[in-house]
């Protein structure tokens, strides 16, 4: 064991010294000191160390030797790591995979790299990453862990001041980007009204969190704005029918929900109260609703329109294809990273810049 560990070290060493040349090598070849070489190659724009001719000689030498600065050495001198920690429940999560991808893209755009912190593996992972990120000296942290996971967001912010959250973390002073859920519901209601729908239902998993209350408010306010009657019977809250488990402990069963719930939705909203449209909790609910409606001989959208929420892959493959709300993940990612970038450069954001809301859009397909 010690034997093999030793041989690894030796091999690593050899590889490192074999195919990567150092600043000293370059300086020697260029006939200058390593201070000058360093300034020319890795220094900022304010290089007054040498004239352009010397600089060119140095650059030429670097090219010849295939020189690339050693990242660890620069870090040790107090330079930025150009690494961004990305905390997420799980990277493959259907609700967040687009966001993760866009975040990475934006991070690359500002010249940094993403280090994944997959926190669903175990409850202690979140705290572990707080430490690990510190050890590795990340410049900032992006936290896109679902709000229903109870992790130490305050602790994260305390250790990593340059943190930007996706969705309100409920931590004083935290910077975050959130989707405007009220606007989302207003879009959906307006669209359905334009399609001639008068009895628009809302089916959600919970109303006990403020983010979901926002939805209810947007729904109500747009109904009012359009002069449509408000009927509380058209709001379905799954919580009224027993506990709904969507929390996950493993990756596999994470996004399941009791199929019967959709039967209940149709019973209450459509059968009992004559809804002619349903705005669903998310695309998964919407897709199942469409199946349930068909099974009961209800036509979509002729009899009942269905609107989803998320705009994930499956929307094109439901039958009919699903009209849904797009979360504008690309815009959200851009906002998050640019906020973080400003924090890295200039410290804490002034209060009025700490919160940004992204306006979702409506994607019309065939279910409305």
């Amino acid at each position: 064991m010690t034997q093999s560990a030793d041989s690894v070290t030796r091999r690593t060493r050899r590889i490192a010294s074999r195919d990567r040349s150092t600043l000293a090598d370059v300086a020697r070849l260029a006939g200058v000191s390593s201070s000058v070489a360093g300034l020319v190659l890795n220094g900022g724009q304010g290089n007054t160390r040498c004239g352009p001719k010397t600089a060119e000689i140095v650059r030429q030498a670097a090219r010849q030797l295939g020189y690339h600065p050693n990242h660890a050495a620069r870090l040790l001198c107090g330079k930025r790591s150009h690494t961004i920690g990305l905390l997420v429940a799980s990277a493959g999560d259907p609700l967040r995979s687009f966001l993760v991808e866009y975040l990475d893209t934006e991070v690359v755009k500002i010249g940094c790299h993403t280090m994944i912190g997959n926190t669903v593996i175990s409850p202690s992972q979140f705290d572990y990453y707080i430490e690990e990120f510190a050890r590795r000296g990340v410049d900032g942290v992006l936290c896109a862990v679902h709000h229903w996971f109870d992790v130490d967001r305050a602790g994260l912010l305390a250790h990593h001041p340059n943190t930007v959250f996706y969705e309100d973390p409920n931590v004083p002073g935290a910077a975050y980007v959130a989707v405007d859920r009220q606007a989302a519901m207003r879009l959906a209601v307006r669209h359905l009204a334009e399609r001639g729908r008068r009895r628009i239902g809302l089916a959600v998993m919970t109303l006990s969190e403020t983010t979901h209350l926002d939805r209810l408010q947007g729904y109500r306010s747009e109904l009012a704005a359009l002069g449509l009657p408000r009927d509380e019977k058209l709001v379905f809250n799954a919580e009224d029918f027993g506990p709904i488990v969507t929390r996950c402990d493993g990756v596999e069963h994470k996004w399941r929900f009791p199929g019967e719930v959709m039967g209940l939705v149709v019973d209450r909203l459509v059968r009992d109260h004559g809804a002619d449209a349903i705005i669903a909790h998310d695309d998964f609910w919407a897709a199942t609703l469409i199946k349930t409606l068909r099974a009961r001989g209800v036509r979509v959208p002729a009899d009942v329109s269905v609107v989803g929420y998320l705009n994930h892959y499956l929307t094109d493959w439901t039958d009919p294809a699903l009209t849904t709300i797009d979360m504008q993940n690309e815009m959200a990612a851009n906002a998050m990273v640019s906020m973080m970038q400003r924090m890295i450069h200039s410290g804490p954001l002034p209060e009025q810049e700490r919160i940004q809301r992204v306006k979702p859009t409506l994607v019309v397909r065939d279910s409305t």
Copy 2:
């Protein structure tokens, strides 16, 4: 600009020195030299430097000061980075997001961390990451870039010998894990035969790549093994009907394909040649096939069974839910990381251990 860059450096410094204590701090508090402290805290198991009592004092001091080893300093001394580069076309890619997640999980299990290399952003990204990974001293690289992207896999392997690919990279000496596509097709054919299907069709996007020829072979060999007649009319190759663009230039339109193709599949296989089952190129084809069949009044599975390939999110939400082949991504990820781990510890794998095939499984839902 220089002003602000300076202030950043200063701030970083201050933070670093403020809240992170060093080995010297711990040694001072424990009353030992930093050599001993280092050995106790960061040394391997073969610690014969001091007795257990001294060791405990050191550990106590470390706890008290909240000591954590500085990653950059260890790297600079030739230690492993415990960072693994993960090359992927795009992290949010529906075809690979599960694999990415499992790879990350496995990487964490061996005590390392994942650095994402999202290569779809631009063609030069792949080569860029080869360099960047080297600069950062990754211990190994996992490459899950789709085989239809033409990237310099040989160059990757040359710079990073501890690389494991997903799917055959066509590079001599490369280590890789691949799904056994022949076995996949055999599973599908056997299952359909057991359900009483006699005219089983195969609809694929291309047969010009060896991976897809494998499918054809598995399909044929199982038909033969079961004594079912072989009818070349039941094989649909989209290439016969003009070029099919599935390559992507942007994220948005990546997984689209001409909807008319599915109409052709139904025309040829079902209408013209009486297929009573179709094994589809992937779940997306399968989902669209189901919609197309319904639109033409063909019942699934009563008249025609449909089998997908991938087992991604959408399979539960097609109507009927899709029977499909599962890629066993978790197993593949485990195999890849364990191969890489062995390479990190003991160098190149012997030839017979460089290739591993994962057996896919059949997930039966309602479309068969």
